[in-house]
Symmetry: D2
Amino acid sequence: MGLPTTSPDPPFRITRISHVVLAVTDLEASLAFYTGLIGLVVTEAGDDAVYLRGVEESAHHSVVLRRSDRACAERLGFRVAAEDDLDAAFAHFERRGLAAHWSDTVHQGRTLHATDVGGVAIELCVTMPSRPRRVLDFAAFRGAAATRIDHAQVHVTDPGAYAGFYTELGFRISEYATATGTPDAPLQGVFLARKGDMLDLVAFVNRGPRLHHVAFTVHDASIKLPAVCDRATSLGLRDCIDYGPGRHGLAPQQFLYLTDPDGHRIELVSYAYQLLDPEIEPVGWALDDPQGVTQWGPPPPASWWEQASPFRGVDVCSPYEPT
Amino acid sequence: MGLPTTSPDPPFRITRISHVVLAVTDLEASLAFYTGLIGLVVTEAGDDAVYLRGVEESAHHSVVLRRSDRACAERLGFRVAAEDDLDAAFAHFERRGLAAHWSDTVHQGRTLHATDVGGVAIELCVTMPSRPRRVLDFAAFRGAAATRIDHAQVHVTDPGAYAGFYTELGFRISEYATATGTPDAPLQGVFLARKGDMLDLVAFVNRGPRLHHVAFTVHDASIKLPAVCDRATSLGLRDCIDYGPGRHGLAPQQFLYLTDPDGHRIELVSYAYQLLDPEIEPVGWALDDPQGVTQWGPPPPASWWEQASPFRGVDVCSPYEPT
Amino acid sequence: MGLPTTSPDPPFRITRISHVVLAVTDLEASLAFYTGLIGLVVTEAGDDAVYLRGVEESAHHSVVLRRSDRACAERLGFRVAAEDDLDAAFAHFERRGLAAHWSDTVHQGRTLHATDVGGVAIELCVTMPSRPRRVLDFAAFRGAAATRIDHAQVHVTDPGAYAGFYTELGFRISEYATATGTPDAPLQGVFLARKGDMLDLVAFVNRGPRLHHVAFTVHDASIKLPAVCDRATSLGLRDCIDYGPGRHGLAPQQFLYLTDPDGHRIELVSYAYQLLDPEIEPVGWALDDPQGVTQWGPPPPASWWEQASPFRGVDVCSPYEPT
Amino acid sequence: MGLPTTSPDPPFRITRISHVVLAVTDLEASLAFYTGLIGLVVTEAGDDAVYLRGVEESAHHSVVLRRSDRACAERLGFRVAAEDDLDAAFAHFERRGLAAHWSDTVHQGRTLHATDVGGVAIELCVTMPSRPRRVLDFAAFRGAAATRIDHAQVHVTDPGAYAGFYTELGFRISEYATATGTPDAPLQGVFLARKGDMLDLVAFVNRGPRLHHVAFTVHDASIKLPAVCDRATSLGLRDCIDYGPGRHGLAPQQFLYLTDPDGHRIELVSYAYQLLDPEIEPVGWALDDPQGVTQWGPPPPASWWEQASPFRGVDVCSPYEPT
């Protein structure tokens, strides 16, 4: 089988994972979670939507919370390099027979809504309004003081096809999991990189499409991760702590997973390794390697494997093959 | 029932938990564990015994490892204030009908071997040879660079009687656990303090007498504890990680439990709170408080509750009442 | 000459450094400093005085701020073991011809006001009202979240006489500085220990009596100290940062010195080494050892050497001999 | 005047700062510094050259130490995207009248040696042999365990011309310093970004061309930076500590500067902010802003401003205008 190959000349240029839009049922409770524990900064707060960003982000938002009757993921957002890339993207989705339509989205300008090959609702935009980075505004930091969006992970029914779709768009495979740890077995998980380091987008086989988690980087992860647990516990939010602190072997980062009041999962991570050079080869892992998911410490709870947020209006299917 | 009262005028003056003597079956493997992960310093190494101390200890040893065919705990050591206290201690144990005999122990001078009311083999001494504190010798630090012995925990069949014995010797109860969290129910666990902070000796009800763990303090616990896990894993010693890193609620310290090659359990902890003032009252916890043992994170493994090191030649009994 | 010897049987029993009373000219500004940067907790706030404690202290206060027209130090407070010790202390000061009088001090009960041999205004008390330790109340932590008072340092004109006075009261000398690093030269600085670790009270030769600083312990000093600098800077309080973060060689602790709005100096420190055993000898340093005051990093500013807070109504004198 | 504009279509594609080649007079002493304090890993060691990389780098080297009679900087290395870019680079340097010639460099393949507009000796290559990332090999970590090369800073006589040269090659200006903090005054310092975050190459006005420092990232900077100082001091290498730990305001990173045995300066830094989006504008600072270079703590020593490594065989000139 083998791993799909990264296109040297993709049809349009995605530059990075950009943001996530989440539907939440109690906007005030969610806001307390994202500002008080994750430490995001409110850029703009309205009655029905709140826009947040990391303390080192100048982009207007990396998280949009929308008030809703029902919790779900709405969209994963990516940036593209220029306006031309939006048009090329539209043509590409049309060519592939995938849904795509234009949206004039506030704070994003011309935005392309599309569905990727795994059924994930994504959106592409070029720019956002700039806000001052709060990088030196330490007295305003709360909780983990997350610095920026790092990656998102989705559950999809066919990670191989999913990886093929994004490698055609220029993403590189940094690490992957199969039954054997080698690329001759079907892909069970894949880490897709575009922004210059290990990962923007991760896909694992499971009932999908669903959003498993969105991750944000923190400085001094060794101390920030237990400190967030201490803080959550003292705020009576102990049940928000889902898994960790610990360290992944596969895609090595220090991690802590939390769940927001609607069960959307947020990961806090240390900074990933750089991935820019042409000679770098993907790293393979056997999924049942006990040190793959968890280098040390207890394994993740069952909920971490099974629970994820569906996308609004998108049916969730089982994988074609049992996993 | 109520908690036992600390004697204002104890028959002899214990000043602190001092050391532990452990029988180990593979001295070289144990040495690698205690120096490479815990970060103790070797004061003296012989064919059959190795003496170790924390990087900030001037006392000759806080851990003695003795080569043996069978792993067990040999003795818990305490310091007393002066030579007179040794004689007073001998008389006290005689009076109480508890075994006590003199030993001329190398590196400790005149030493009293005794059995406490819980059947724990203890020894008392006044001085040890002084060695330079390695507090500034950072380049020699390994693993957690544990600074000093903090406390020991034993399993005993009757924690109430055990607390009574040590409060008569001037120990104070800092925290305790009962079914109700109040002192009108039988003591299930008790933290006994003598050296000026929260704890020297901890006793929980279980099959006993057995040594549950010996704890050492570390600076910068938030980073040292995960760093030791990373180091253990990369050395192939992942199975040494027993429980944590995490934070206790009852007797609040950040913790990581490791097990040595013979299964003796070592805890690394942050610095405990001070306990010197006469007005301080014991803090009670309900043992089934989910935040008592573990403020956040997964609960301890079953082994943490059940496994402990027997003392050489001492029968292990079940508690008188089911717990 | 030699170092003074610790009395094995002091006339009364001081147990620890307890608190400091500071006169401040802008109570609100001071409160912002002590709660927002040092991270002390307000136990009680009145119009003319605020009582604060560290997050792990159960004692009612370790800092008292009193509104005043003129900034100065009012008193250094110590705890004694029992009521009898207060009476013995009164007799001792009388015998030594040093001022001592009774005060019925709110939140301290019967309190002895006295002047020590160096002219420092001190007070002794037995108990204070207990408040819950905030040790697990992480969400309320601010700034350094200082845990407890650690020590105070004074400038005196004759450290040798000063050390003699306190060793007679049972204090031990942990470390000291002379021109030569050996005890045959006059004492220039001395670290006096009573509470079971390296230091309660420090005295250096200089114009005195003056209060040089009061120190508080912090957990995870490596990260707390730069974090407080970041926070101070972002609050526009950069000028509060006096010296550090760094590490002392003489009396090794990680340190950061800050000055409050009136110039009173506060030190944040890592936990000191234990000092309980009878065999421990004082450690000598040559004061001009470049690694004595500062193991690494730039030396202290001139202000750190020269500025200190006078005690109310106490004349400041120059040392008898040039230093 | 205004800042130079980044070319949207550069003549060739540099992807990142890649490596530095340093001539050293005592290879063994240098090796002890780079492995023992900086924590780089030796990829290959020969009699006359040693190749080192960060613990998360898969590229063969980010530092090359060459034995020499005279210490100097030899070359700054950059990666380009593909072989075509090397040819385009050659043509570009020819066109600009700047020296460029081919070298078949071991471990780099076809390599272009060139001189940039500031006189800095640079080299461009496409690939290097891959080595396993040591990211999980914690037991082998030493000192700061630096993860990867982050940026290099040079002294040049005309930062404005220098910025113009590199922005034409697609670099973006992230931050800059002028007398006024606005772009209408001559550039005194400029931070040039290519790899997706704040900086690859920094240039300040001074006698040049000279190499001021090369920087490497570390995880958990808050604790790694003081820990390296502690370690250096205990190894008798206190004089290696040049400036810091502290935090820069201009180009905000936590920093520690060390000097190697030949005086080459190495910086250890926290992770920089991301810089990928088209709308991001450069941030301007007034060079005399007291919080620009040093957010808090003492200012840099004079040596930090004045000393830098000349490039082999390249004359050092004074700036055209006094600064």
